[in-house]
Homo-oligomer: 436 residues x 2
């Protein structure tokens, strides 16, 4: 059979990795795909650098439009990132009847609904396994492997930078700032780490998974984001004493009232497998009504792991090139005319258990006041520990609550902070058992 020609837009880390995998495993890939897959053209702003990375067999240009307009290119691989130029190029490629493979989570979380609609009209595929959790085939698992299930919820460790920082904070008792600096030196965190540590990256990935799980449009603007930069090492230690680990989780859950879509630091029982996912690794736990909980674990970033997903998509698209578009796996898992516009719940409507740390001026009555305020807001206590007086004359009270709506806990916290016997702000972290 005729070889398949790939045009690559963006020759950075993942682009270089994709070229490496296509070359190194060419034999293995051809034995699987049934035809040769050739990288014929690449576009990169720095042409010389791309040429050095790709060798003499690949035509390198500086204008990516030449790729989407090249009649010899069957599949366009978009690894530029961002949602400006990349969006134009992807739409133009679709317009030209080309299939697209992309790792661009931001583009899809913000403009996926539009892009998939255009692809549907033109009968082309837009594959995006690499956009979520790097090389872990979680898109395939959600869209195909769990097709029999009513998916109930997803909880994912989907940002390696944050997970590395949290792992080090726990293992070494170091502060967020110290570990961030170390992560930057190791290349695990960007010079401006906001995108990773404030939950934006995880939010993009979660938005995509929620769309696939529940058959809803992409709604990143409604995703609640809370990062790890304000996390105090003390809370990681106290959580540990209570049998929990703190992870930055992306959580989405279908409830009668609507869909929860939220990224925040979360206490998880230490016995859960996902609580033991450490360092830069990623893992996604999905609860299906038939299968129960299933976890997928692996490298969520890096040149070769991400290329593994890009190339798997290329093989998939290659197999389906001649297929009838009506019978392909739908982009968003459900048939395009079967999407539902379920409401995304505001964070105040979400139900969770909570970890509270309260700085109490050490005197009689403070506990009674706190527990009274919790009770008045319908919040019951699962555990309470009091840490001995600290140097400034205050004690710390740590409370784990049962499940309650976030607005109730907010109201209780406001009341607690107003108490004379309470010093400073109450620290509040969400807690999930991940067992129902």
């Amino acid at each position: 059979m005729k070889p398949i020609n790939i045009g690559l837009m963006g020759v950075g880390t993942v682009g270089g990795g994709t070229a490496t995998v296509l070359k190194r495993n060419a034999g293995e890939i051809t034995r699987r795909a049934g035809r040769e897959i050739r990288l014929i053209q690449a576009a990169n702003r720095d042409v010389a650098k791309a040429r050095a990375a790709l060798g003499p067999d690949v035509l390198v240009v500086d204008d990516a439009l030449q790729i989407v307009n090249n009649p010899d290119v069957d599949i366009v691989v978009e690894l530029i990132g961002g949602d400006t130029i990349a969006k134009e190029l992807v739409l133009k490629a679709i317009e030209n009847g080309k299939h697209v493979v992309t790792a661009n989570k931001k583009l899809l979380a913000l403009h996926g609904t539009e892009i998939f609609a255009r692809a549907q009209e033109k009968g082309v595929m837009v594959a995006f396994e690499a956009a979520v959790a790097g090389g872990i085939p979680i898109i395939k698992t959600l869209r195909e492997g769990l097709a029999a299930n009513r998916i109930e919820w997803i909880a994912g460790i989907i940002n390696g930078t944050s997970n590395f920082i949290l792992t080090e904070m726990r293992d070494k008792g170091a502060s967020f700032a110290e570990v961030l600096e170390q992560a930057q030196q190791l290349g695990y965190a960007e010079a401006d780490p906001t995108f990773d540590i404030e939950g934006h990256d995880a939010g993009h990935k979660l938005t995509i998974m929620a769309a696939l799980a529940f058959g809803i449009p992409m709604q990143f603007d409604k995703c609640y984001l809370e990062g790890i930069s304000q996390l105090d090492g003390r809370d990681i230690r106290y959580a540990e004493e209570l049998g929990y680990r703190v992870k930055l989780l992306g959580l989405t859950r279908r409830t009668d009232a609507g869909v929860e879509l939220r990224v925040h630091p979360t206490l998880i029982p230490e016995g859960r497998l996902i609580a033991n996912v450490n360092g830069v690794m990623n893992a996604v736990l999905v609860k299906g009504d038939a299968l129960g909980p299933t976890l997928s674990y692996g490298a969520g970033a890096g040149a070769l792991p991400t290329a593994s997903a890009v190339v798997a998509d290329i093989v998939d698209v290659t197999r389906l090139l001649t297929s009838d578009p009506e019978h392909r796996v739908p982009h968003l898992a459900f048939q395009p005319d079967q999407l539902q516009d379920l409401a995304i719940l505001p964070i105040t409507e979400v139900t969770s258990s909570y970890y509270l740390r309260i700085g109490a001026i050490d005197r009689a009555g403070v506990l009674a006041n706190i527990t009274r305020l919790l009770a008045e807001n319908g919040i019951s206590i699962e555990a309470l520990i009091q840490k001995g007086s600290v140097s400034d004359g205050t004690a710390e009270v740590v409370i784990l609550t049962h499940r309650v709506q976030e607005k109730a806990i907010n109201h209780a916290i406001a009341g607690i902070e107003a108490l004379d016997s309470v010093a400073g702000k109450v620290v509040r972290l969400r807690m999930e058992e991940l067992n129902d």
Copy 2:
């Protein structure tokens, strides 16, 4: 689009679960598959029982041949098990041009090569996600998700019964016999548990995964099987002291000399995620050259989890009904003309680290003799602990070795057992780091 008609052969636990999932999630499944999937006919020896389970909408017959010969049936689901009647029926269904979905690992591990060749000739699909690790989509991960990778090895906890027994032996310090009885009462082990506890079931599943990973024919007859029935609780405790957990692993690895294919109790470092997979749960760890290690975890058995995989296969086959057979995912991951006949290594040629427990009559010189025999066989020691004298006047020496060929350790063990100062047989368990 026209509904797809399913004929179900075997209405036991998984058959009933399949009917339940198809009915309960009919809306969700249709939204994904783009057409209705209907169970129209079922065959079961006990017709009344099947009728009670399936309700009035499904025609129940006692002769499964009526299903494979029914012109209205598009997809035949084989849940009879075994490799006699099931084989005839599957071959007849293929002959009749029907697609087949099966959960029958024994059938495929023994006769898969023949069955897939016949399916290929007739242009039909034989899907078997449910044959390995129940509802975990590991077949899809191996065949499609990791298509870019040269797969290096697979290590799986793929028998829930054995994993439940090992978990309980560790948690409660109970003996194999005690826990087996408990497992039988809970329905986790059969009245005759041989198939599960002696590694046959795991061997079937491993054989299938090895074929998919390396593009080799099914060779269950060359799979080394060692179960858990001889495992002594002491060794689980000593392993624990040394930082290891004991799991029944299915292991397959590509080496320059050939393919390793083996099922046996294995010491794994306790920090590995797979070492923390407990109870009846399954997990498969796959090492790809691009992705690195990736783990898939979930329920490996049970009515609804297994049905999750059966129905996912039905949806896959439904989507591909009109596809060109040349472009489908090949049954064994690689194109049929691209299979390789790599040799399966005999267990004596396999390289592993080892755990040895030696009953030594407590007198000077015994350690010197043991270490001399190990050294003479080229075996270096990673750790050695001596447990104080036990009641019968012997001490126990526990040794962890570095990697060495099994025939060398066998030779050393024979020498050690011949020593006057050594009492009884040497206990030997294999040990894998699972990190390279």
